[in-house]
Structures are given as C-alpha cells and as structure tokens.
C-alpha cells in the first residue's frame, strides 16, 4: 500500500518537474511572420478581484471573435489574457509571458496598481498600451504609449461638472467628499470646472474615514446652504450612510455620484429604496436601449451566460478602438511591436475617434487621457436608467 502511494507520488512529482522544465525552456519566439495581430491582456482572473479581470477577458474575446468573423479588412486578431492576481509583481510576470508569446499590442492591465507597474515596462519595450479600466492618473503619466479608455479618477470630476452644467444648470450644488486619493482628486477637478464656468458651489464638506457613521454635520451644512443637488464623489459604503441619514432628516436633494457609487443598490444594511433618484456617472448601463448596447449585451449573455458589467464593455470598446486605429496606420500584422507602437501613437494623437458602447466619438489627448461624452443614469425602481 505504502509503496504504491510512494510510486504514485514519485510519478506525480516527476511529471510536475518535467512540465516545469519544459515550460522554462520556452519563450522568445513567435514575433512577426504570421498575419495575426497579437493582442494581449492582463487582469485578475483569480482572487478577490477576479470579477474585473474575467469581465475584461470575456469582453475582449467577444470583440476579437466578432472582428475575425466579419473579416472586413483582412486583419485578423488574436486575444490572450493572462492572470495578474491584482498584484504588480504578478502583473509584470503576466506581461513578460505575453511578450514571450509575441504580443504586439496590450489591452490592459485591468486594475490600477498593476497598470502602473506594467506601464513602465511597456514604455521601455515600446508596446502600445490601451487600458480598459485602470483609472489612476499615474497609469498614463509620463508614458507616451499608454492610453486609457475609461475616464481617469480626477477627470470624472470634470465630466460630472460638465454634465451638471449642461443638464441641471439652475440647481444649487453642494459637495461632500472624502479625504482620500480617489475622492479628493475628483473634487478638485469638479470644483475647477464648475466654478470656472462662473457658478458657485454653495457648500463643501469633507470627512476622513471609510467607516464614518455620522454625517449630520455635513448634511445640515448642505441643508442650511439650500443645496438641492449634492455631489458625492465617494464610494458607495459611506454614500449609503449619507443617504440613510439625509432621509431621517427629511432632506431630499438629488445626490450625484461617480463610478464609486456603483454598488449602492447592494450595499450592506442599506434600504435600496433610499437610492431612488440618485444619479451617477457610469460609462455603461446594461439596460440601455440603444442598438449597440443591446447587441453587445445579447452576444455577451449568449456567450458567457451572465450580464456584462462596465469592465466587459470597456474591454470590448478597447479592442474595437485598437482595430479601428490599426486600420488607419496602414500597417499589416507582421509589423514589429515598435513600428506598431509608433504608428498607433501618431493615430491616437492625430484626432482619431472611435465610437463604442461606453461612449460616442471617443478621442484621446497626448497624455493618454480619453475625452468622451459622459453618460449619466438615474436609479429608478431599483435599476439604472440612462438619462
């Protein structure tokens, strides 16, 4: 019995070692030659943030399959997604794996910290990079080859101010923000854009802790200043507390959030009814009725059996943006990674626009930041409805 077990163990270990050696030997091959444009992607496919990485993986795959099936311009794409566990160290490994298999363009990384680490490597290697969802400003900063498809954190503030100026100009606006990296950046840009247009924020209040419970002081300040729209560029957990306490006080302004507000409907110990009428900026609403969104949602549900989230939509748009830009470069898929990078940078900086489900006529500036019309939605009967 024991010897059998031993033999089994020995065999299993030997097999593992053989695999290990075989895999170590690989790499360094596969660049150029074939006519497939190799797009790579990294994101957390395992671990607590896996929902984001898998959405990107699936959304990108869907777009690649559609483009290959249509075969409109003779350009064929390949799509390889690697796991980065939402860890910069592992993301660099994933990126190197993709480079080993001859990646020419990177759609990723999915999350911010890995993106900051990988952007530096991609810059040194001259790999054109378009991240679907890594929203920190530091991702693109200092790198001429790294672009974002999502609004970066501070620019959400600008986008929110533009939306409010365009659609709700006569509201009296107050702000409650959190003293953290995410919220503060958004607030500063919001203030610059909103007050730059000659309007005045009637009241501004801040808080520090994620688990802050008592917001009566901030809400009273808003109420006394007569604010009927409160901009809350914060995460949904404190936002849930704010909504609950405002309701108790009988204070009912329009609350306006950004992407951190996404998740409010499923916040713990929160009565989702209180979220009725809350507005938020979000790039993608699965229930939107336009044709492109409907088509994408249906294809995604057919392929993966679940409703796509914003990350899937971002990745889908990324692949189409890359495809459209690549057509404009006039290169074919056998071009080297560096050639593609230089040509793509020229196209992206040269007034190139791409339309998708997260925005019409998206265009990019030289810092790699996206410019697109922000989409706002309002929570009605427990679902997001696009405005």
């Amino acid at each position: 019995m024991k010897t059998k077990f031993t033999k089994f163990m020995a065999a299993a270990l030997a097999a593992v070692m053989a695999f290990a050696l075989a895999a170590c030997g690989g790499g360094g091959s596969g660049e150029g030659g074939d006519a497939v444009l190799k797009i790579g992607s990294t994101g957390p496919l395992t671990g607590p943030a896996a929902i984001y990485g898998n959405a990107v993986k699936n959304g990108g795959q869907l777009a690649v399959d559609e483009i290959n099936a249509a075969n409109a311009d003779g350009i064929q794409l390949s799509w390889q997604a690697e796991d980065d566990e939402h860890d910069p160290e592992k993301a660099v490994n994933a990126y190197n794996t993709l480079m080993d298999s001859g990646m020419q363009i990177l759609v990723g990384p999915t999350t911010s910290a890995p993106a900051v680490a990988v952007a530096e490597k991609a810059d040194a290697d001259r790999v054109f990079t378009l991240t679907p969802s890594a929203s920190q400003a530091a991702v693109t900063e200092g790198h001429d080859n790294v672009y974002q498809l999502c609004f970066n954190d501070p620019n959400q503030g600008t986008a929110a101010a533009q939306y409010i100026l365009a659609n709700m100009k006569d509201k009296k606006v107050g702000v409650i923000y959190q003293q953290n990296d995410y919220s503060q950046g958004i607030y500063e840009k919001f203030k610059a854009e909103y007050e730059g247009a000659g309007n005045k924020i009637v009241a501004t209040e801040a808080f520090a802790k994620d688990d802050e419970k008592d917001f009566t002081a901030q809400l009273n300040s808003m109420k006394n200043a007569g604010a009927d729209l409160v901009f809350v560029p914060i995460y949904y957990t404190p936002a849930a507390n704010i909504l609950t306490q405002a309701d108790k006080m009988g204070y009912n302004p329009t609350f306006f959030g950004v992407d951190g507000m996404d998740g409010i409907l499923t916040a713990e110990n929160f009565d989702a009814k209180l979220a009725e009428g809350v507005m938020l900026l979000t790039p993608f609403v699965a229930s939107a009725e336009d044709e492109a969104t409907q088509k994408f949602v249906k294809a995604y549900v057919d392929a993966y059996g679940e409703e796509p989230n914003q990350f899937a939509a971002d990745a889908y748009d990324c692949v189409y943006a890359i495809y459209n830009a690549f057509k404009e470069t006039g290169l074919d898929a056998s071009a080297s990674t560096e050639e593609i990078c230089d040509a793509m940078i020229k196209v992206f900086n040269g007034g190139f626009t791409s339309s998708g489900i997260t925005g019409e006529e998206m265009k990019w500036n030289e810092n790699g930041e996206v410019d697109k019309t922000p989409k706002a939605c309002v929570i009605e009967n427990g679902v997001y409805v696009q405005k």
């Binding site: 031993t6 593992v16 910069p88 160290e89 994933a94």
Partner: protein, 381 residues
C-alpha cells in the same frame, strides 16, 4: 567556560563542536547553490534560452530567498513561530523607496542609491523589530505567532494612511490619514492605499545575488557564533540555558532584530524593483508564503529554504499553461510536495541513494539523523 557549557546543553551546538565541518558543509552548499544558480540563470538569459517571464522573476526570487533565510533565523534557529515577517519587509520597502527618491536627484550612481536605501530600510526594520520584540518576546509558541500576525496587520493598516511626497519647492512632505494637498502626481512617493508609486526601478539580478549572499553570510555566521549557540541552547532547553545565567530575552531579541533587519533589506530590494507596490502586498498571505518556504525547505536548513523559495516562486508562473486551473494546480502540487517531503518512506529512499553516492559518511550521518528525530519527536509530544 560558559561557551563550553553551552555547547553541551545544545544538541546542535554539541554537534558543531564535535564536527566543525557541519558548518563548513552548510555554508559551502548554501553559497554554492546561490552562485551556481546565478551563473546558470545569467548564462541562460544571455544565451536566449530563458524567456522574459523567468528573467523578470530573477529579482523577486532573490527577494524571497533572502526573506526565507532571514525568517529561518527566527523560526529555525531561535525556534519561535513568526507570522509577521511581511511586516518587516513592508517597513524596509517603504523606507527604502522613500530614501531612494530623496537621494535620486543628488546621486547619479544607482547602485550607491540602492545600497544606502537598503541600509536605511534595514535600520528602520530593525528598529521596528526592536520596538515590537521587547514586549512580545516574553511570549512563546502559539501566543507569539498570534501577536506577530497582529503586528503584520497593524503595519498594513498604517501603510494605508501614510502619505509622503515633495511639494512644489522640492521639500519632503508627510501627511497622516489624509492625502497631501496640492501635489503633482509625479511628486508623490507614498500615497496611502495606492502605496509606493512612481519609484524609479534600479535593481539588477547581481544586486539580488549580493543581498542573498549577504543574508546567508549573516545568518550562518550568527548561527555558528557564541551568540548563535546561546540562541539555539535557549531553543533546545530554556530552563537549562537560564540556569547558567543566559539572558534569554536578550538573545531572542538579537535573533528577532537581525531577522527583521535582513527582511527590511529584502523589502527595499523588492520596492526598488517595481515602480509601484501596494500595501496589500504585505498582508498575512505574504507572511505565510515566506513561512511555507521555510517549512518546505525544512525548518532550520538554510539551503533547503533557498531551494524551496526559488521553486515556489517560479511554480505559479510555470503553471500559466493550465490557464483557469493555474492556482488550483499550484495548491495541489504544494500539498503533494509537502506530503512527499515529510514521508518517511521517501526520506529513507533518498537517504539510501545518498549513502550509495557517499558511503564513507554513512555511520556518522545515521547517528545525527537519529538524534535529530528523537529530539523533534519530544518537542512535538
């Protein structure tokens, strides 16, 4: 005189005294593995045999090897279970990164920056080890493990609210619990939950090797010194050690602080190898991972830890070909390896093969093994 008594108390101390060659052998194997591994990998990289994926892991492997060796000092040689090693790594990483950013405009020679940052990281990590070690080293076994675990968590939480950066005049600014106001993104050094950001990467594989060699040098020399024998005798028989007037707390603290300082150096090297490091990197998982290296390499065995750390760092990357089943495969392999390493039948087989190759030392080796097994049996009971 006391030293001789020590040697008699400690089983391993005794062995050292009788056979000084034990130390030489261990040192030879440890340095040998490091240097041969370095040469093979470097040649492979230059010759194009090794892909970018593995090349990118050279420095992380060195970091994990150093961490495993330094943790071995506490777990193997001092005999205390520490679950907060990543905390010291974090202190070293953050302080090293901070120092490198301060030095960067003034010093052009990068290895000098790395060296100074590493020393700074080691000093602060040692300080952290000292401050934490004083109150907790009176605890033993499970209690110490739990306290060190809590320490690791405290460090991660502190990292989440610490902000460092340069203001417009290039002056260093610090903020606690709120972001620094009015600061350019590129002037941020450490930004709360985002972590160390915008770090200039300047670490090479050679620096990694040097750190590994230094760590092994310090740990092996400490182990073979008078202090080392005192530490081991306290581990083996605390009452006997106290009875001859050894200051238990002092020696335990020495091991703990040296281990923390070495972990701090490894942390600095890690921080300077990536342009960003988030505080979540230093959570409980990393501490346990380092402990796994030590346990798999056999507690107290320096070169075993070196091999275990290298293989377990590379393994998850090798399994990328299994795609969705990657982490599952890794976990299963870990279980198999653990079972195999501690299976007496397999151990006996390996020993049989070893004695065939090396028949002269057979008797000697068997004696040592028996003694060791009896000893560990007693400890478990």
């Amino acid at each position: 005189m006391a030293d001789r008594i020590l040697k008699t108390i400690s089983t391993r101390g005794l062995k050292n005294a009788v056979r000084g060659s034990e130390y030489k052998r261990e040192a030879l194997i440890s340095y040998g593995i490091l240097i041969i591994g370095y040469i093979v990998l470097q040649l492979g990289a230059v010759g194009g045999l090794i892909g970018r994926n593995l090349q990118g892991q050279f420095v992380p492997i060195c970091v994990y090897v150093s961490l495993a060796v330094s943790l071995n000092l506490v777990v193997g040689i001092s005999g205390e279970l520490s679950l907060g090693h990543a905390g010291f790594m974090a202190v070293g990483c953050y302080s090293g990164v901070l120092m490198s950013r301060i030095l960067l405009p003034h010093i052009g020679f990068e290895p000098a920056i790395v060296l100074v940052s590493m020393i700074f990281g080691a000093v602060l990590a040692a300080l952290a080890g000292f401050v934490i070690g004083i109150p907790i080293l009176g605890l033993r076994g499970d209690y110490l493990a739990i306290v060190t675990l809590a320490f690791g968590e405290i460090i991660v939480n502190l990292m989440n609210v610490i902000y460092f950066g340069f203001d417009k005049d290039g002056k260093l600014k610090f903020a606690f619990n709120h972001a620094i106001e009015d600061i350019e993104n590129s002037d941020r050094i450490i930004a709360g939950a985002i972590g160390a950001t915008g770090t200039k990467t300047m670490v090479t594989f050679t620096m990694g090797l040097l750190l590994c060699l230094f760590t092994v040098f310090v740990v092996l020399n400490l182990k073979n010194s008078k202090q080392g024998r005192a530490i081991m005798s306290i581990r083996d028989n605390r009452i006997a050690a106290e009875s001859i007037g050894l200051n238990v707390r002092k020696y335990k603290l020495t091991a703990f602080v040296v281990s923390a300082a070495l972990a701090g150096m490894a942390g600095t090297l890690y921080g300077l190898n990536f342009s960003t490091v988030a505080p979540t990197k230093f959570n409980f998982n990393t501490s346990v991972l380092i402990l796994v290296f030590v346990v798999l390499g056999s507690v107290g065995n320096i070169w075993g830890g070196i091999i275990a750390a290298s293989i377990l760092t590379v393994l998850p990357e090798v399994f990328r070909q299994f795609a969705d089943y990657r982490m599952l495969t890794y976990a299963i392999v870990l279980i198999l390896v653990m079972i195999a390493t501690y299976n007496p039948t397999i151990k006996a087989r390996v020993k049989a093969v070893w004695t065939k190759i090396n028949p002269v030392k057979k008797k000697d080796k068997d004696k040592g093994k028996d003694k060791k097994r009896k000893k560990s049996g007693k400890e478990v009971a």
